[in-house]
């Protein structure tokens, strides 16, 4: 029997669980809060720009279950908003129970409110994970998908303090960097000014607190763009954002709202009194983070060095995915990296060569490209996403961006990788 332990139940951890289970392993998923999906509970944007290509590649590679859920949970599809095309907006209030149900049906053992705090090592191998309640969780191979956000001290030192985000550190305790506890030093992302970390890029407003007109437009079209009063336009604020794909001038001069169940406001934070000056937003209040008028969570403070098979350097049996694995932004990126980590955890246990996705697929290329760039000073200040900024430009230049499903299927098939993630290895 192959026992895989995944630490962190966000999108990357859930994807790793699906992949490892599809490959035939026994899978235990540890999550510190009372919900899966982590920041996925407040996100919602899929399939915009190059994420469409990536999602279809993953489906062709045989790991489409989570994309199936985000498609089914969509409130809107093929949405256009500044700089972005053909986005799907999933309903954040529906998606977590759907993912939880899928994992249970697949036979993944989920332990909620189980916080990992340290590792028990033998040589360069992890033997077990020490939990906050003093118990030890043992396994053959471990996958770390703990993310890179928070905890409170980091959000205070590198941000505007705890903004009471969905991770709820005060309630469930802080994230622990498992790789760092195991002796592998974390890599730290930077902002333009070389300060460490970056703010999460959006917040959520309570839809019922907005005017009827805004609400209706959101419900019908999925997107609302409102003008920011000239005196409040702050272009420089864009540089503190994680999501460089939304760090466009349009986002400084306008308020962009997307309907993901709540009204997703595409800015890291926005003082409430200023927000309420905008017509239709007079009664606005935040849904996530609760203190979105003041700040947002700070991310990219804990990245593990890894190879392109997602194995952490310097440790025999730890893999990583999601933000833990690089300066990635978004659910699609988390699902991509998490799936590969989960699949390879089974290969590693069996002594098989690890799978590396080829660079003529966008999913393989982003993993390799982000890994090259993180080793450079400039690269530490960038973020890597199929949806925009540097990497989407690269996709377009290399003619890898397409929404032609058959073309994507052909690309995967040409590599002889169709349904590789569906193969049972155990």
């Amino acid at each position: 029997m192959v026992n895989i332990v995944i630490i962190g139940g966000g999108w990357a951890g859930c994807a790793a669980a699906v992949a490892a289970r599809q490959a035939g392993a026994e899978v235990l998923l540890l999550e510190k809060t009372d919900m899966l999906l982590g920041l996925g509970n407040v996100g919602g944007i899929m399939r915009n720009n190059g994420r469409y290509t990536a999602a279809e590649e993953m489906i062709s590679l045989g790991i489409g279950k989570l994309f199936g859920i985000t498609d089914r949970a969509a409130r809107h599809s093929m949405v256009e908003f500044p700089g972005h095309s053909h986005a799907t907006l999933y309903d954040v209030t529906k998606v977590e129970p759907m993912v939880r149900k899928l994992l249970y049906e697949m036979g993944v053992e989920i332990r909620l409110m189980s916080r990992a705090i340290d590792t028990i090592k033998k040589g360069n191998a992890i033997k077990g994970i020490l939990m906050a309640d003093d118990t030890v969780t043992e396994g053959d191979v471990f996958v770390e998908t703990t993310g890179s956000t928070g905890p409170m001290g980091n959000c205070l030192k590198y941000g505007n303090g705890c903004s009471m985000c969905i991770l709820r550190c005060p309630s469930f305790g802080p994230r622990t960097s498992i790789s760092q506890r195991a002796g592998v030093e974390d890599i730290l992302g930077q902002r333009g000014d070389e300060c460490y970390g970056a703010f999460s890029g959006s917040c959520k407003l309570n839809k019922d607190s907005l005017s009827e007109e805004i609400r209706e437009t959101l419900n019908q079209r999925g997107v609302v763009v409102l003008k920011v009063p000239t005196e409040d336009v702050k272009v420089e604020k864009l540089s503190v954002k994680v999501c460089q794909q939304y760090a466009l001038k349009e986002y400084a001069e306008n308020i962009v709202l997307l309907d993901t169940g709540h009204a997703k406001l595409m800015t890291p934070f926005y003082p409430l009194d200023k927000l309420r000056k905008i017509p239709g937003m007079e009664n606005a209040r935040y849904e996530d983070p609760y203190s979105g008028g003041k700040g947002n969570s700070v991310r990219y403070l804990s990245i593990a060095p890894r190879n392109n098979s997602m194995k952490v350097d310097g440790l025999e049996n730890l893999l990583c995915g999601g933000e833990k694995a690089g300066l990635f932004v978004g659910h699609t990126e988390a699902i991509t990296t998490g799936s590969l980590a989960g699949h390879n955890s089974v290969r590693l246990t069996l002594g098989m060569p690890l799978l590396e996705l080829p660079r003529n697929l966008v999913t393989g290329d982003i993993i390799a490209y982000a890994n090259e760039r993180i080793k450079t000073k400039e690269g530490l200040k960038k973020r890597y996403t199929f949806a925009g900024a540097e990497y989407f430009e690269r996709m377009k230049e290399r003619k890898m961006y397409t929404i032609d499903k058959q073309e994507i299927e052909r690309r995967v098939d040409r590599m002889d990788l169709t349904d590789i993630f569906s193969e049972k290895l155990v």
Binding site: D118, K121, M152, C169, P170, P174, S177, R181, S302
Partner: protein, 323 residues
């Protein structure tokens, strides 16, 4: 695994962050150890946040209070039980196993402060009971016929293994208290009674020369047995209980030698009960500053025993077996 995460008894209390945070010597928070990023031993609050919000300063420190002597009972040639009037707030804060105060005679300088376990409290009247065994200069100064007493507190690290004590419910427990170790045992027994535990109590007058704790637990339905733990008969009885009754928790109030003997006996058992013991380190300031309680643990790290919930086995083995 890098670094050792230590559990500070004061973390998250109203006295946290303390002087150690200001000196970048915080026991819990990595930022307040001079590191750049979070890697703390989470105790339920963010100490860095408290520190920043307090204006990058420690919180108010513990106060010293004059404590009127309500009663003073000389219960043996060298042991006195004091009943002291303190504030209701202090009494409430001391209503906890492992709680202690520093005491001194008002006429003496601050370095006469001596730590004393709080045996019982009356939170309604604001009274505390403290048992004192006269041993050296500091305790002799408190044993005079008329004393004006100053107390400083609250402090809480008088017992090691508090997390076990606080987690046990509906269990079976053995409490062994010898000499002045009876004083902290009283609060342990009362705490265990709240968790609906079965408790067997063994008391040895020891060097205190008297049994004085029973008075404070006489309302509880527990059997109290008086034994000489230094006699063959006493050892035999304790061993029999340990072997025949499957305990979930054993408390040892007494010397390190007594703790070691109990740990060694427990190691021979099939079931391994939690061990809770009195903290016998020489505590002088209680704030992690003076260094008198400083003790080395296996990794070579120096630990302030007045604040840290040490691993009982390691600290006892190091002190007794390895000198």
């Amino acid at each position: 695994m890098i670094g050792r995460k230590l559990e500070c008894i004061d973390a998250g209390s109203e006295y946290c962050p303390c002087f150690l945070a200001e000196a970048n010597e915080c026991i819990t928070c990595s930022h307040l150890q001079g590191k750049e990023f979070c890697d703390c031993n989470w105790r339920g609050v963010c100490i860095y946040q408290e520190y920043v919000w307090a204006g990058h300063r420690k919180k108010e420190i513990r106060s010293s209070y004059p404590a009127a002597v309500i009663e003073k009972n000389n219960i043996s040639a060298n042991t006195i039980v004091y009943k002291l009037q303190v504030t209701k707030t202090l009494a409430r804060e001391l209503d906890n196993p492992g709680a202690y105060v520093f005491m001194r005679d008002k006429a003496k300088p601050v370095f006469f402060d001596v730590p004393m376990s709080v045996m019982a409290v009356d939170t309604i009247k604001g009274e505390i009971y403290v048992a004192l065994q006269v041993q050296g200069a500091k305790t002799k100064a408190l044993a005079g016929p008329e004393n004006d007493i100053i107390v400083r507190g609250p402090y809480w690290n008088g017992i090691l293994g508090q997390r076990y004590l606080k987690s046990i419910k509906d269990g079976s427990c053995l409490v062994i208290a010898r000499g002045i170790g009876q004083a902290p045992a009283v609060k342990v027994v009362r705490y265990l009674s709240r968790g609906n535990n079965r408790v067997r109590i063994i008391v040895d007058p020891g060097k205190a020369g008297a049994v004085f704790g029973n008075e404070f637990i006489k309302d509880l339905p527990y059997e109290i047995e008086e034994l000489d733990l230094n006699s063959k008969q006493g050892v035999k009885v304790v061993n029999r209980y340990l072997k025949n009754e499957s305990y979930d928790l054993v408390f040892s109030g007494g010397s390190d030698k007594q703790h070691l003997y109990i740990i060694q006996e427990i190691d021979r058992l099939e079931n391994k009960p939690f061990i809770v013991v009195t903290n016998n380190n020489e505590i002088c300031c209680g704030e992690g500053i003076c260094g008198s309680c400083s003790t080395r643990i296996d990794s070579g790290v120096r630990v302030k025993a007045c604040k840290v919930q040490l691993d009982v086995r390691k600290v006892i083995e190091r002190r007794i077996l390895n000198g």
